[in-house]
Assembly symmetry: C2
Homo-oligomer: 307 residues x 2
């Protein structure tokens, strides 16, 4: 492992690009490899077994590229697959988005006696209880409220923004119980959600600290590489302040990025490239299409009933 090796970032599709965005701002000199599993997206309504299978295939594909670090830039993948995959690939340095988000949430809760921490996430992340575990590990006394918000990802991928009345109605519905319970901190527990940060801040109110798990994840990666002496260049101080209610702050500041970005997808490179520009605020080259090795039609059945 050398400082010149790339950082690999994997996600179910597009959301992980908010982590790429943050990485390019915090670590502008690093070469990045991004893998979006667009043939299997979304992960948020799949089972742990399926998500582990998808992620395992991706890591097998990325491993020969010698990444100095691998980031699971997807809350669902982190929640459902990280322990399994980390155990299966002991030679790889791997981190995710949940630990950094939980750590920042606990820090933001400060000295309150019984802080109320809200988390919005996919159905699968909520069911996994990964955020509860990560928060309670750091702080015994806290009220933790999770809410699945499954429409936000398709709304963002449809191109809707925070000023769309449909998005506002959905956010009011989803956040109502957290507003009533007066949460102190709200974690955006899906890497798509930073694109709606401004609208979320408006609905939840100015007293609530927002934690962007994508931003926290990038800062965590910088600390890990620094500790290991694997940084390629200096860490930029352009870190976004925690809880900034500004949709575009994370998007506009990557002037000094000189590292490369290579992208791989498992389906529809054109659709990915088109949507990616909204996440990255820059155009990307057409991603490389990666396909599973499939048997031909005359081969025997490849699906088997289990159990």
């Amino acid at each position: 492992m050398k400082p010149g090796d790339p950082i690999a970032v994997l996600d179910s599709g597009l959301g992980g690009l908010t982590v790429v965005n943050a990485l390019r701002r915090v670590l502008p000199a690093e070469d990045l490899i991004y893998f979006g599993d667009t043939a299997h997206l979304p992960y948020g309504n799949k089972s742990p077994a399926a998500v582990c299978r998808f992620v395992r295939q991706i890591v097998q594909f990325l491993e020969p590229m010698n990444p100095k670090h691998l980031v699971m830039a997807c809350n669902t993948a982190t929640a459902l697959a990280m322990p399994t995959i980390a155990a299966e690939f002991p030679g790889l340095s791997i981190s995710g988005v949940i630990e950094p988000g939980a750590r920042a949430a606990v820090a933001a809760a400060g000295a309150r006696r019984l802080p109320a921490i809200g988390v919005i996430a996919t159905e699968a992340t909520v069911r996994s209880k990964a955020y509860e575990r990560a928060i309670f590990q750091r702080r015994n006394l806290a009220q933790v409220m999770l809410r699945p918000t499954p429409l936000l990802v398709p709304m963002i991928e449809e191109g809707r923004t925070g000023d769309d009345p449909l998005v506002e109605t959905a956010l009011r519905q989803y956040l109502q119980s957290m507003i009533l319970r007066k949460v102190d901190v709200l974690v955006l527990g899906c890497t798509h959600y930073p694109l709606l940060k401004g609208a979320i801040a408006k609905v939840i109110g100015p007293k609530v600290r927002l934690i962007d798990s994508a931003e926290q994840c990038a800062q965590d990666v910088a600390r890990r590489l620094e500790r290991k002496g694997l940084l390629r260049g200096p860490v930029s101080s352009q870190a976004e302040p925690i809880g900034s209610p500004d949709d575009t702050a994370a998007m506009d500041e990557s002037p000094s990025a000189t590292g490369t970005l290579r992208t791989f997808v498992t389906d529809d490179p054109e659709r990915f490239a088109m949507l990616a520009s909204r996440f990255l605020e820059m155009e990307i080259e057409r991603p490389t299409l990666v396909k599973p090795l499939m048997p031909d039609v005359s081969a025997p059945v490849v699906l088997r009933a289990a159990g």
Copy 2:
């Protein structure tokens, strides 16, 4: 092929259950096999290549069960994969949802000189232009308007119904241009949408004939089997009238169904069984989980960059 053989129904996940519902009403004596590809859902934002690959695997799995007919109960699968798969499996009798829907839409347009036919569907179905082709094949002079409505499937799978303000707002947005253009007929070009038929009828207005592609597909299957002398029992006359604005009409009438229903899924049988009851208005047994044959972790890379 014998009248006692089963009818196989495939879909990306749950939507095809509206076709099962209609089949159980129209052909109550038939044994049905349902395959929901829940590991890969939704198909509606995937490419033709990916959807063909998924459907091919399913058909390879179903073929040894000797179905007397195979129904692609998914508009996206029909639009993107049917010609390819039909050519690859010449021994199988296959039909889809688009031809019957287009035929019913043209019939419903009646003698108008230049009828306006609207279709709401997934992103992939709209891009395929399959509905335009099927409609123009039957009628040269028509205005055909397609609108992708990608939030309706996740809204339905989240458990939302037509009286939810978010659903109503989304329908008003999606249908606005069709209302302005005064469509005569509106095709529900996704097998999930019959669950919102009442709300769609309310928003689009009473003058517009609604075509339920799931219902039309079931009647088409009955005609095909009848023609081939492969019916197991009589065709029920409980056919739902075209354009019924009643959400529940299609759900409440399967008193005489005596054929069996076996279900297979590629992910999360529990989630499927839970959601299925909303589509079928009856409980089903836990589906059989079907898994792709995957190489073990030590096997060589199974993803390859293409092209």
